[in-house]
């Protein structure tokens, strides 16, 4: 069972370790990269290595790996766009905006990082802003752009969601077949490859974009999945927290079904799926879209246990008075048992549960804004 939690923040990487006190079950055991913004961190389950994605304000995105539990970190290569890769002119940008013209593509951020399959030692996948998917076969020593996705003509329709350019924030490697890789793009929908990345299909059928003109609401390339996760034990089941709703597929992305009547709100960024029960998933809702704060300033988690037909509101241990925490897309995680969860907020709160969300415990610390969490 995972023995640590990695909390990536605006000002460093915080490693949490368990305590013997049931009232305060986790404490901060280690701080790395103090002062540096971290987009995310990752434990590679195949070799135990830790990876950290830094997004330095002046000096760009960096990738570091530790093979000794964070005692030392090695700088790795970052994905780079080859010569000739361009960003399309943005038709919505003002003529004075640099985005109004076609221009060279360069790495802005690493927005997702996932290990390849269990039988693919050394393989890593990285999703970037702008919307590139990269693969490393050597534990991050080198990267290559997956041109087959980058060169899809539909990329001309992708656009940034909360960022200047579209980006790939979710990568799901099918535990049954590592050549089956699915990604989600803000904004560009969900895409899947069944041949290790050689060919790609948009698999956003059923998603609805309320922010588009009505006739374009079901445009596959206009969808804004905020986060996509795949159930490890039932890999035909995926969940998406979308910009304007919650979507679930039980048929390997052939068709997504929208959950309706989701209280207190269907807006949010994060989703976690139970590793052994594909019909159970957790979300952290907020007031859509113009405000992005918890409904009635009460921080809650919602959980469905029936595939998205009904939702419970879980609030035991969470602040219910003047709470303005928002949970970003990588800042909610569940462990391999499905009982322990953790989430971190934009205002630096971290909460954990050991019973699937029935009771939550606040980490007794005010951290910098939290961008990502994971069990490690």
């Amino acid at each position: 069972m995972s023995s640590k939690i990695l909390v990536s923040t605006r000002k460093g990487l915080f490693t949490l370790a368990p305590t013997s006190d049931p009232a305060l079950p986790w404490h901060i055991a280690k701080v790395d990269f103090l002062g540096d913004p971290l987009n995310l961190a990752l434990r590679d389950p195949r070799d135990g290595a830790l990876y950290a994605v830094l997004n330095l304000g002046h000096f760009g995105t960096k990738l570091r790996r530790s093979d000794d539990e964070g005692a030392t970190w090695t700088e790795l290569a970052v994905p780079e766009f080859p010569e000739g890769c361009t960003l399309y002119a943005n038709g919505f940008a003002a003529p004075t905006d640099v985005r109004s013209k076609e221009r060279p593509a360069t790495l802005m951020e690493i927005w997702s990082l996932e290990p390849g399959g269990p039988d693919e030692s050394g393989v890593l996948w990285a999703g970037t802003i702008p919307g590139g998917l990269f693969r490393s076969d050597d534990r991050g020593a080198s990267w290559r752009l997956i041109r087959s996705l980058w060169d899809r003509p539909e990329r001309a329709k992708w656009f940034g969601g909360g960022k200047d350019e579209a980006g790939i924030h979710s990568i799901c490697v099918d535990p049954r077949d590592a050549r089956h890789v699915s990604v989600a793009i803000s904004c560009g929908g969900a895409w899947t490859s069944r041949d290790g990345g050689d060919t790609w299909t948009n698999v956003s059928q059923g998603m609805r974009a309320a922010y588009m003109p009505p006739d374009l609401a079901y445009d596959l390339d206009a969808q804004d999945p905020h986060r996509m996760v795949q159930c490890p034990s039932s890999p035909d089941h995926y969940w998406i927290q979308h910009h304007n709703g919650i979507f679930h597929t039980s048929n390997d992305c052939a068709l997504w079904e929208e959950s309706t009547d989701v209280a207190p709100a269907n807006f949010g960024f994060a989703v976690a799926v139970h590793p052994h029960d594909p019909k159970t998933a957790w979300f952290v809702p907020g007031v859509k879209d113009e405000r992005r704060v918890p409904v009635d300033a009460k921080l809650v988690v919602t959980r469905t246990s029936d595939g998205g037909r009904t939702f419970e509101t879980l609030a035991n241990g969470l602040p219910q008075d003047h709470a303005y925490d928002i949970v970003f897309r990588h800042a909610l995680a569940v462990d391999e048992t499905g009982e322990r969860l953790v989430f971190g907020s934009t205002t630096g709160g971290v909460w954990t549960t050991a019973d699937g969300g029935e009771h939550w415990h606040a980490l007794p610390a005010r951290l910098p804004p939290v961008y990502a969490v994971c069990f490690a």
């Binding site: 304000g57 002046h58 000096f59 760009g60 700088e75 970052v78 790495l107």
Partner: protein
């Protein structure tokens, strides 16, 4: 020979001591430094060798004007300072 100096903020991430270079332009100076210190490249320029948005370079106390081509001239006794721009936070 021109001398190039990097912001001490970088020292937290990697070693880049001041050094003398044989160069006629800022780009040539950086290329020479990166030849011996490849990891530094990605901290200063992007993959198109354009100066990062939040990095500034001064040559003899004047900010360079060609951030994309780095063609600004460097004289035999020039001092080149590579600094963080406060726009980057």
């Amino acid at each position: 020979m021109p001398r190039i100096v990097f912001t001490p903020h970088l020292q937290r991430h990697l070693s880049c001591p001041p050094q003398s270079v044989s160069a006629g332009t800022v780009r040539e100076a950086l290329e020479q430094v990166f030849l011996a210190n490849e990891p530094l490249r990605g901290y200063i320029v992007d993959e198109r060798f354009r100066l990062r948005k939040h990095v500034v370079i001064f040559v003899d106390n004047q900010p360079i004007t060609d951030r994309e081509g780095l063609s600004d001239a460097v004289g035999p006794t020039s001092e080149i300072y590579v600094l963080q721009a406060l726009s980057g936070g």
